[in-house]
Structures are given as C-alpha cells and as structure tokens.
C-alpha cells in the first residue's frame, strides 16, 4: 500500500469513526450500525495481521473508554476480528459486494459474540437473545451500511486482493 492509499484509507476510517459517534447516537436504533467494525475491516485488509490486531486493539480501547461496557472486551474482540480479517483477506475480500457484505456480517457477529461473552461473564436468556436475535440483526444492518459505504468509496479505495 502506497502513501496515497494509506492516507485515503486513514481518511475513510476517520470518517467512519466519526460517523460511529455522531450518526449512531442520532439514529439510536435497537439494532444499530457498527461503523467501527466497517472501519476496522477496511483498515485490516490493508495491513499485516499483527498490525491489524494492534489497530483493532486500539480501536477497541477507544470504544471501551467511551462506552459503559466492561473495559477491554471490545479491545479483545476487535483484536481478534482485525487479525482474522487481515489473515483471511485473500479468501474473502474480493471485489464482490455480496462477499464483502457477508464478510462484514460475519465480522460483526463474531465481534458481538466475543464482546458479549467476555462482557457478561455468565450465560443467561438475555445473552442468548442478544446473540441470536439482536446481534444478527445488527450484523445485517452493519453489513448493509458497509456495502453502501464501500460502493460509495470505491473510487477512493484501492482494494487489492492478493
């Protein structure tokens, strides 16, 4: 990735992070769009897995510091998701919107899975409801939003498949 591409990616990720803290609270949906996951995946597929894990960790720390959720849960989940996205980019992140959407869906669901299990520290019906109902819904919404963002920013983003 050249410097121009890196700057573009950083710019898009910054926009997505800003959207996460402006549009998301404004909409206040029960199954809300997770722009941080979209930003994480966009950045991770352009980084080495280790760097992607660090990127996810930092992004997760930001999320943890602002949210009332258990501190460190988002950092852990995003580290794993970022590493996985970077490691699997060759397999999944092709120039196919449907595949990208599925990849976003999967990433968000795995993130929620890790985040909820680590955060709750106990299995209860509410957690099951969250994992099997609200998380897939939020993942679907996030995937849809991610696909739209990718479509809009396609001229800007130079996604290379290796």
């Amino acid at each position: 990735m050249n410097w121009t591409g890196a700057v573009r990616t950083m710019l898009v990720c910054a926009i997505l992070i800003v959207l996460h803290y402006t549009l998301r609270p404004l909409l206040a949906w029960r199954a809300s769009i997770d722009f941080l996951i979209v930003a994480l995946l966009l950045g991770s597929v352009r980084l080495r897995p280790g760097a992607a894990a660090v990127y996810g960790f930092l992004l997760g720390l930001v999320a943890d510091s602002i949210a009332v959720s258990p501190f460190g849960a988002a950092a852990l989940a995003m580290s794993i998701v970022g590493f996985g996205a970077s490691w699997l980019k060759a397999v999944f992140f092709a120039d196919n919107l449907a595949l990208n959407g599925f990849f976003l869906f999967l990433a968000k669901w795995i993130f929620d899975l890790i985040f909820l299990i680590v955060g709750h520290r106990a299995i209860d019906p509410e957690l099951a409801m969250q994992i099997f109902v609200w998380s897939p819904l939020a993942a679907a919404v996030t995937a849809l939003a991610g696909v739209i963002v990718l479509s809009l920013l396609k001229p800007l983003m130079d996604v290379r498949t290796t």
Binding site: Y21, R48, P49, G50, A53, F57, S65, I66, G72
Partner: protein, 360 residues
C-alpha cells in the same frame, strides 16, 4: 525469503497474543483500576469523539423532546376538537330536549344518519333510527329545534327514511308570521350553497314580503301542523308569473347539522303543535290585533258615555237656570256662550237671521 515470512508470521502472532493478553488484563482489572485508564483516554485521545457523541446525543434528545412536545400539542388539539364536538352535540341535545318538553306529547325522538348517494351533490334524504315499531308512519313530519327538516318517506319496523326539504319531491304549505301571505314551499334548484335554499311560490302579487320575514307551515293540506318554522325570506325571485310572487328562503335548519330529530305523530299533526317554533311572533301579532280591537271598542263606548253625560248635565243646567229666572221674575237671559253650547247658539243665531222682521 521463507525465513522472513516465518519471522513476519511470528511477529504477527506475537502482536495478536500481546493484544489479547492486554485486553484480558483490562477485562479482569478491578473497576477502581480500569477507571483511571478509561478516564485518561476520554480526557486526551478520545476527547473529540466524546464531544461528538455528546453533541449527537443532545441532538437526539432535542429531537425526541420536540417530537414529544408535538405529540402533546397534537393530543391537546385533538382533545380540544373532541371537546368542541361534545359541546356542539350537548347543545343540540339540549335543544332537542327543550323542543320535546315544549311539545310535551305526540313525538318520537330519532337519530338522523345522513345518506347521500355518491352522485348527489346535495343531501336529500336521511335515515332515522326509529321505525314503525316506535310509531313512525309515512308522511310524518320530521322536525328539529330550529324548524322543519322533512317528511318520512318510508317506515320500516326499526328504521325509517325521510326526505329533506332539499328533495325535489318536497312541498309544504306555508305562510308568513302574521298570516298575511300564503304560498307553497319548494326546494330551490341551485348549485353549491344555493342548493340548500327554498322557494316560497304562489304568494299573491298584492302581498310583498320584506327580507327577514319568518315563514311557517300554514297547516293547510294536513301533512304539517301549523306553526313549524321553515325559514326566512332572503329576496324576491323574478319569475314570469304575473299574478303571484316567488321568494327565496333561507331554511331554518341546516341538514348537515341535524343529528337528532323528532318525528311528529299523525295525532299530533291533527291537533297542532301550538306556537312551539314561532311562539313569540304569532302570539305578539295576535295579541296586538286583540288589543287594538279592544281599544277601538273601549274608545267608542267611552265616547258614547261622555256624550250622554254631557247631554244630561246640559239639560239639568238649563232647567236650573230657567227655574231661577222664573222665580226672580227676570226676562229671558242671554244664552250662555260657553263652548259646549256654541252649536245651539250658532243654530239659534242662524235661525234669528232667517226670521222675518216684524213691521213697525
């Protein structure tokens, strides 16, 4: 190359493990230990994002508050409209109860359900919730507190259909409030607001009705009892009829406002309704006529009595004067010149002039 790749993989794995370990340490930290870290992040690196989130949440709460206020104002407005409708309905029911108490007997209360065919511009009939079981019969008059509404066309056991005064089949014999003019009321053939007007036809040419004159049913024909208010004269309509006049009437009742009506029974129609609608007008005119007639009779009687008394007094006075003069031995005194005897004096003087002079 392979060594570099292996080294890179190890670094990646190491970084992942490091991140995971740090995250787990953060997770297992106690609240008092993790809060300073989170707080430090919120005050430094994440501060702009915290500001953005707070601003967005403020916007959101303002939006929700605005929606809630809008809902509250809407509900208040709806409540106000409902209250207004309840007041109007209450007023109508009070009026109908008042009419019922004035009529006292011979009526059937019914709710009116308007039924206009889609092709019709004007409401010409209405369904009543009382039928033949309640005593409603065909051609029973339908009235409202304001006046005449229509006449029952069909009477089923539990419901009936009445034609309104707007129906082309509607006719009513009518008269002015002072019973000086009679005519037949027809629906006015017009469009828009004029469609709900009426016409008073067949009024003799010699009778001219002023705008605002109240028109009532005359009781002729037997369908409607005398004295139900129909409407007021608006203006005279120009027609080709040379011997009669036609007037445009504004109906007393607006069909769209009629929700409850009274159906007058045939017995009540026969016996009349009295002055329930035009009580003040009819009573006043009748009373005025009676008083005027009494006054003229009384005046005449008083005049006759005064003349008789005056004649008696005059004769007594003359007799007294003559007797006094006779007793005194005086001649005939000059005739009194007071006003009451001027006629006789004039007559007498006239006579004196005509008397032939005695020869000397």
């Amino acid at each position: 190359m392979a060594t570099a790749a292996r080294y890179g993989s190890r670094v990646d794995a190491g970084l992942l493990v490091g991140c995971v370990v740090l995250s787990l340490i953060a997770v297992v930290l106690k609240d008092e230990d993790r809060e300073p870290i989170a707080s430090a992040l919120r005050r430094s690196v994440v501060a702009p994002l915290v500001g953005l989130q707070r601003g967005a949440e403020r916007w959101r709460s303002a939006w929700v508050t605005s929606e809630q206020r809008q809902l509250a104002s809407d509900s208040i407005a709806i409540r106000g409209i409902k209250e207004q409708a309840a007041l109007v309905e209450n007023d109508q029911l009070r009026k109908i109860v008042g009419l019922g108490s004035r009529l006292e007997w011979g009526f059937i209360p019914a709710e009116a359900v308007h039924s206009a065919a889609p092709s019709e511009d004007v409401v010409t009939n209405m369904t009543l919730t009382a039928g033949s079981v309640a005593g409603v019969q065909r051609y029973n008059p339908v009235v409202a507190p304001e006046g005449l509404v229509g006449v029952v066309q069909t009477a089923d056991p539990t419901m009936s259909v009445a034609i309104l005064y707007t129906s082309p089949d509607f006719r009513a014999s009518a008269m002015s409030a002072d019973a000086s003019a009679f005519g037949i009321v027809y629906p006015h053939t017009g469009r828009g607001s004029a469609a709900y007007m009426l016409e008073l036809r067949g009024v003799p040419t010699r009778v001219q009705l002023k705008p605002g004159t109240q028109i009532y049913t005359s009781g002729l024909g037997g369908t409607f009892p005398r004295g139900i208010s129909i409407g007021t004269v608006v203006s005279e309509l120009k027609t080709t009829e040379p011997w009669t006049r036609t007037y445009l009437l504004r109906p007393s009742v607006s069909p769209s406002h009629v929700t409850t009506v009274l159906v007058l029974t045939a017995q009540r129609v026969t016996q009349g309704t009295g002055n329930v609608w035009g009580a003040a007008v009819n009573t006043d005119s009748a009373t005025r006529r009676i008083v005027a007639a009494n006054d003229s009779m009384a005046r005449q009687a008083a005049l006759i009595e005064a003349q008789a008394r005056r004649a008696a007094l005059d004769s007594v006075r003359r007799a007294t004067i003559d007797s006094v003069r006779r007793s005194l031995g005086a001649g005939v005194a000059p005739e009194p010149t007071d006003a009451r005897d001027t006629t006789r004096a004039r007559r007498d003087s006239t006579r004196a002039d005509t008397i032939r002079k005695r020869p000397t």
